[in-house]
């Protein structure tokens, strides 16, 4: 469980007899009793307990089409933080003020399985906050043109219900949730609908589609939605002068200052979110966080592109 780097951290009073069980217990006890000092001794060596350099994010994977019954879905993993996002499309009547725009409703769920801090029957405190942040980010980034979700102006438009389930909460929840949401939208296929004789919109299931209803088809084939300027994010933890990218839940709980930067593909700032925390962020620190995010969004864009091209081969 413990690698060689941690053996180096042995408390000074112990002779360096690395390898035997006794010294491993010491490291474990030190970690639990003095978590901050345990981390500081790692940080001084520019390394983290999981053997990552300070500025490296954990391994990230995206799998599209994880939920067969949804119109678009994705499973995103950053380290062990796991998010499942699924989109269901429904036809609704658009509002009077915006007759030719569709709508997106985003909900973030934290079921009790995701973390020992969430108890059954009692909703997690952070869930509505992440939910609000996600809808702010996705809607203000302009990734989706809501006009594209219109079917018949003033009569019918698409309502996209995006639900994100956190399966494992191990830090950087917002990053993983945003990645899964973006991936689900890039996997989304808008179903085929047509106008029937009563002027109502009906869904066409694939078997029914023998061409006898195509007189009023509103969109004749399944189509993808065009995504422009996709937002990606990176969360960093600040401690003294150190910046730790992509923190785990343990790191977030020990070093409490968290900064989340969201940039879109043209490197514009969509959100810079720092809710308090004991460390005051100077301008140069914020610029460093933005620079780290710039590198990270390139990685994330590649991961997403690979997942999409993998789907097209299938």
């Amino acid at each position: 469980m413990f690698c060689g780097k941690e053996d180096k951290l042995e408390t000074m009073e112990l002779p360096n007899d690395s390898g035997d069980l006794g010294s491993e217990m010491e490291v474990d006890a030190f970690r639990r009793l003095f978590p901050l000092r345990f981390y500081e001794r790692h940080l001084a060596e520019s390394i983290r307990p999981d053997a990552r350099p300070l500025s490296r994010a954990r391994d990230t994977t995206v799998a599209l089409g994880a939920v067969a019954s949804a119109n678009g879905s994705a499973l995103a993993k950053i380290g062990s933080t796991t998010m499942l996002a699924a989109i269901k499309m429904e036809v609704m009547t658009p509002s009077v003020e915006l007759p030719d725009e569709g709508c997106i409703a985003i909900e973030f769920h934290m079921p009790p399985i995701c973390s020992p801090l969430v108890r059954p029957g009692r909703p997690a405190e952070v869930a509505p906050v992440v939910s609000k942040q996600l809808s702010d980010t996705i809607l203000s980034s302009g990734m989706i043109n809501l006009k594209e979700l219109s079917l018949v102006s003033g009569k019918a438009a698409w309502m996209a219900y995006l639900d994100i389930y956190c399966l494992d909460a191990d830090g950087a929840l917002f990053d993983a949730a945003l990645l899964s949401a973006v991936a689900a939208f890039s996997h989304l296929q808008i179903p085929v609908v047509s106008l029937n004789d009563d002027g109502k919109i009906v869904m066409l299931s694939e078997e029914q589609d023998d061409g006898n209803l195509d007189k009023g088809a509103v969109n004749k084939e399944k189509r993808k939605i065009a995504l422009s300027s996709i937002p990606f994010s990176l969360t960093c933890v600040l401690h003294k002068n150190y910046i730790l990218a992509d923190p785990t839940a343990e790191e977030e709980s020990i070093m409490e200052t968290v900064v989340t930067v969201v940039l879109d593909s043209s490197n514009q700032l969509v959100s810079l979110y720092k809710p308090g925390g004991p460390v005051l962020a100077r301008t140069s620190v914020l610029q460093d966080c933005v620079a780290l995010t710039r590198q990270r969004i390139k990685e994330l864009q590649n991961i997403l592109d690979e997942a999409i091209s993998g789907m097209e081969v299938d």
Binding site: V129, D136, S140, L272, Y273, K274, P275, G276, R282, L286
Partner: protein, 240 residues
């Protein structure tokens, strides 16, 4: 940059008239009303009360923020505000003086005419002082709005907030006066009040625009912190 005249005749950097009064509620341990133009927020502090809530560290004091909107029930937005306020206030209070206690801050919105969250942070800060909760330093909050053309305005009204492309809520530490020499209070060659406690942004902007917001917000926060200090001082004298 050409001068853009704002609806209420202010210049871009001009704040609305500020008003702060403390000790206005009888039963609360501390209370304050903060007015910024037509935006008005009432904050009450109850505590420190014995015991912390679940999942909180009992070795430290716990801060709890309860947001009461002007009307209706609280939704996601209010939950987010509660979380931001809680974390912001946690970072300015000294939590180790009263371990295993809870301090509740109730924020009642009286009228919302833009820059609501900064107004609430300022009100809560004054109320905490009124209640005598131990604090490291004060905090001042400001709202910056950015127009499509890159034009910046401070302390927007509700109408201006809606018409602007993006906005940033920033919370800075209050400038401190201390017996130490000025060099001693510098953190890595910068005064402490240059660091930001909280930043929340809405809408897309360039990174440079954001840095520009920071600069302007910082300049305005100096004015705000002077006002806060002056109003706290004058009321302390009238109390005695």
């Amino acid at each position: 940059m050409g001068e853009m005249v704002r609806e209420d005749g202010r210049t871009a950097n001009q704040l609305r008239p500020l008003n702060c009064s403390r000790n206005i509620l009888n039963r609360a341990h501390g209370s304050a009303r903060w007015r910024q133009g037509d935006t008005e927020v009432l904050a009450a502090v109850y505590g420190p009360k014995a015991g912390t809530k679940k999942n909180e560290n009992p070795e430290k004091a716990c801060i709890e923020v309860i947001w009461k909107p002007q009307s209706g029930q609280i939704g996601k937005l209010e939950k987010e505000y509660e979380m931001i306020m809680k974390k912001t206030l946690q970072s300015i209070c000294i939590l180790t003086v009263n371990p295993n206690t809870t301090t509740s801050i109730v924020v009642q919105v009286v009228h919302d005419d833009g820059a609501l969250l900064p107004c609430a942070v300022n009100a809560a800060c004054a109320a905490l002082v009124d209640a005598g909760i131990p604090m490291k330093h004060l905090a001042v909050a400001i709202c910056c709005c950015l127009a499509e053309s890159g034009y910046l305005i401070l302390d927007p009204t509700k109408l201006e907030e809606q018409n602007m492309k993006s906005l940033a809520y920033l919370v800075f530490p209050n400038s401190t006066t201390s017996v130490c020499t000025e060099e001693a209070s510098l953190v890595d060659g910068e005064p402490m009040e240059h660091g930001i406690i909280t930043s929340v942004t809405h809408g897309v902007m360039l990174v440079d625009n954001y840095l520009h917001c920071l600069e302007r917000g910082r300049a305005a926060s100096a004015k705000l912190s002077d006002f806060l200090r002056k109003s706290l001082k004058s009321q302390l004298q009238s109390d005695s």
